[in-house]
Amino acid sequence: MSSPTGTSSVSALAPRSGRRRRRPLRAYLEAYALVGCLVAIAVFFSLYSETADTFPTAGNLKTLLGNEAVLGIVALAALVPLVCGQFDLSVGAITGLSSIVVADTMSSGTPVLLTALIGIGIGLTIGTVNGLLVTVAGVNSVIATLGTATIAAGIVAQESGGVAIAGNIPESVFNFGSGETLGIPNVAYVLLVVAVAVYYLLDHTPIGRYVYALGSNVSAARLVGLRTDRVLAFSFVVAGVLAGMAGVLQVARTGGADPRLGDNFTLAAFAAAFLSAASVRPGRFNVGGAMVGIFFLAVLNSGLSLAGAPDYVALYVNGLALIIGVALAVFLGKRRLAV
């Protein structure tokens, strides 16, 4: 457009390649601002007198990494339908139900691999139900998943009687879940593998692109021949499977299952999933951003708790993060599209 007027050749209309590859500094700042905050907070708690002795220790960092692995997978579960423009509020409840059932069947001597499959199968089933409710029955995704989440919570209460299941978890499982390899908790590797898999799915397969396309414009997706219902249902199935896996990992990590787990997970997972649109690829929900979001919240909460802040502060942090994450996602999304 800034080409001199009066040029008559067609090439003047073609894009000029000069500034194609250069990304302005602002774009980098925007993409990595949250990573910067993460580092800044970590540095602060390493220097702050109250936490300087406890925060930057190998033990604390390992605990942090290990504790966030399960939540990280739940956040990825929430992320996939979110890319599609839909909410899956049942991810926490699926993780909770999966962990209770897995802990229960494991303690009664069922082979470990089979119980893991049962946990994942629970996620698959609920995810499929969610997908069918949203596509075939046409129920709003918030309502549908709130419904299945509530039912799942009901099953948890019935199964567990509200009491945590502990003990009788096979030694090998607990050893894996609490152990470490090369100084890093085993469960962190699991998170890494799952994150890479979801990244691959979303960014390197046609179906991933279709998921983004559906989140962008349903009617356009239909016009290019996409089976929109299938893609949408698929995103819920993926979310269910991931949440089911998170439940299995939770049992390995803690050697038991807590019936109150699910409620806490959903909100924290959504906070991270929304924050994902504020980093790495601003304005778009993405896997890298979700990981940054998870550890940003974890470092903040860990530092605050070591500094002696009461437990409820974590609720403030997560709630604010959710709101700020959503606001940032909207703001950056709009700015990216500004003509």
């Binding site: 008559s8 894009p15 194609r20 691959y200 046609p206 356009a220 016009l223 021949g225 003509v339």
Partner: protein, 517 residues
């Protein structure tokens, strides 16, 4: 007397100068037409005046008050009496005409915040009468044709002007989806309001309208003011020259652009698509065939079934009866995927329905061909983007880069992206609904050249177009739809504006119609 004075308006987006020292003088009680190609800065100028996207620098003087353009905001714009009616009529589909008119203005309230419906209705009737809108206050917007909806949107903006002649109304492409007859009614009305003292700024791509109604015309190109021409001196060819600058205009009228395929005996060519007694939606027993290499225009008024016809062919509207031959499938299970597999491509009238606004140009171009890049269990992003870069050149798409979100492109360029998305698949049958709506004349010729290129390579194209002149200019043949039926099939040598206009409106007697059918 000047109703609006703009001086030194500047606005940049990154390295792009969207507005570069633009000035504007709008006289009280006149129709001022704003012209310019896609990306000329018209939209940015309107947004700056509306205060939606404030300019970087400049001065806006309206209603005797000077404002710094960089701090102009929607509140100030409204306060100053600047009213905007946008391209996409911003009406509430499931509310009544009365509600639509009252929203933004306020309902007549009684005690306890109760809406006094009788007063609202009476006022609405007055407004409808004044604007000659054929609707009742209780009609739901969705029941009205799109033409009438546009008129209600305009009435909504103008209704507050009753006793103020200070205000200015900006109409952004108000005639883009109006049939010729109603365009005339609308333009007449605009002229009357101007005569009564109303100041109107009209943005349009249709030069005929500009020459017909403008008291003064301002032409923008590449963000700069090219010229301001006074009414007596406004001349079609001169405007074309001003809008295009030195860029060569493709000569649509030269017979060279009309394909030889259209002129040879059609029976020599293979049949690409045949429709037999097709019924569905607004379409009633349509039968016709289209041959490879043909560019067929579909003429018809709003509601004639012209859009439904394309949607039936592409599997978007269910077929009730009849058959579509040559698509390998028929009946209830026919979906866009099947249509695509049979080599069909569809570009809808509403661009917003076809683009993935927040996704990149490249993503938009490759969405219907994605499987080609799926090799060795991964998407070949490198190849995908390289191809997209080439397509930008081939299809003359102006974009800062292939990874820019498609929403950052101008309307005409978005349209070319949608077209390129399909043409790269080398479709057998192109179904295009108003492919040049809201597109400037240069891009219009380019778009038809691209369509023509596809038909020369053996595709056929069905193009729905409200602008009948465009059909006579660019198409090989025309089908005329009226009330869901194909009432005329006009071959190239008889393709004349008068005939299309007559057939579209059905003013000829039933006898002739019977002879045709």
């Amino acid at each position: 007397m000047s109703a609006l004075r703009v001086r030194g308006l500047r606005k940049s987006f990154g390295a792009t100068r969207a507005l570069d020292d633009v000035g504007l003088d709008v006289e009280q009680g006149t129709i001022h037409v704003l012209l310019g190609g896609n990306g000329s800065g018209k939209s940015t100028l309107l947004k700056a005046l509306a205060g939606v996207v404030p300019a970087d620098a400049g001065e806006i003087e309206v209603a005797g008050r000077k404002h710094d353009a960089s701090s102009f905001n929607p509140g100030l714009a409204r306060e100053s009496g600047l009213h905007f009616v946008h391209q996409q009529a911003s009406t509430f589909q499931d509310m009544t005409v009365a509600e639509n008119l009252a929203i933004g203005r306020g309902f007549e309230l009684g005690t306890g915040m109760r809406i006094q419906w009788r007063k609202v209705r009476r006022r609405t009737e007055e407004v409808l009468a004044r604007f000659e809108i054929p609707a009742s206050p209780d009609t739901e917007m969705a029941e009205l044709g799109r033409a009438t909806q546009t008129m209600v949107a305009i009435a909504r903006a103008l209704q507050d002007q009753e006793d103020v002649d200070q205000g200015i109304v900006f109409l952004d492409e108000p005639t883009a989806c109006l049939p010729a007859k109603e365009t005339v009614i609308l333009l007449d009305a605009l002229r009357r309001y101007a005569a009564a003292g109303q100041t109107i700024v009209l943005v349009t791509h249709r030069l005929k309208e500009a020459t017909a109604v403008a008291d003064r015309a301002t032409v923008l190109r590449d963000g700069r003011l090219v010229a301001t021409v006074d009414g007596d001196h406004i001349d079609h060819d001169q405007l074309v020259e001003l809008i295009m600058g030195g860029v060569a205009v493709l000569q649509p009228r030269s017979p060279a652009t009309r394909s030889p395929a259209g002129r040879v005996a059609q029976s020599d060519r293979p049949e690409a698509l045949a429709v037999n007694g097709l019924v569905g939606g607004a379409v009633r027993e349509a039968s016709f065939e289209v041959h490879a290499g043909e560019l067929v225009g579909i003429a018809g008024l709003l509601g004639s079934g012209r859009t439904t016809l394309l949607r039936l062919l592409f599997g978007l509207t269910p077929v009730e009866s009849g058959e579509i031959l040559g698509v390998g499938s028929r009946g209830a299970g026919y979906r866009p995927r099947d249509a695509m597999a049979a080599g069909l491509a569809y570009v809808p009238e509403d661009r917003a329905e076809a683009v993935f606004a927040d996704m990149s140009v490249s993503d938009n171009l490759s969405i219907a061909t994605l499987r080609d890049y799926w090799r060795g269990l991964r998407l070949r992003h490198g190849a995908e983007q390289a191809d997209s870069r080439n397509l930008l050149g081939t299809f003359l798409i102006k974009a800062s880069s292939e990874v820019a979100p498609v929403a950052t492109l101008s309307g005409g360029n978005q349209q070319k992206v949608v077209l390129a998305r399909w043409l790269r698949r080398e479709p057998r049958v192109l179904l295009l609904d108003e492919p040049t709506q809201g597109v400037d004349i240069a891009a219009r010729a380019e778009i038809y050249a691209l369509i023509r290129q596809a038909t020369d390579e053996g595709a056929c194209a069905l193009v729905v177009c409200a602008d009948l002149e465009e059909i006579t200019t660019f198409c090989d043949r025309a089908l005329v739809l009226r009330d869901g039926r194909v009432v005329d099939d006009v071959p190239a040598e008889q393709l004349q504006l008068e005939r299309l206009e007559r057939e579209v409106h059905g003013t000829i007697g039933a006898a002739t119609e019977a002879a045709v059918g």
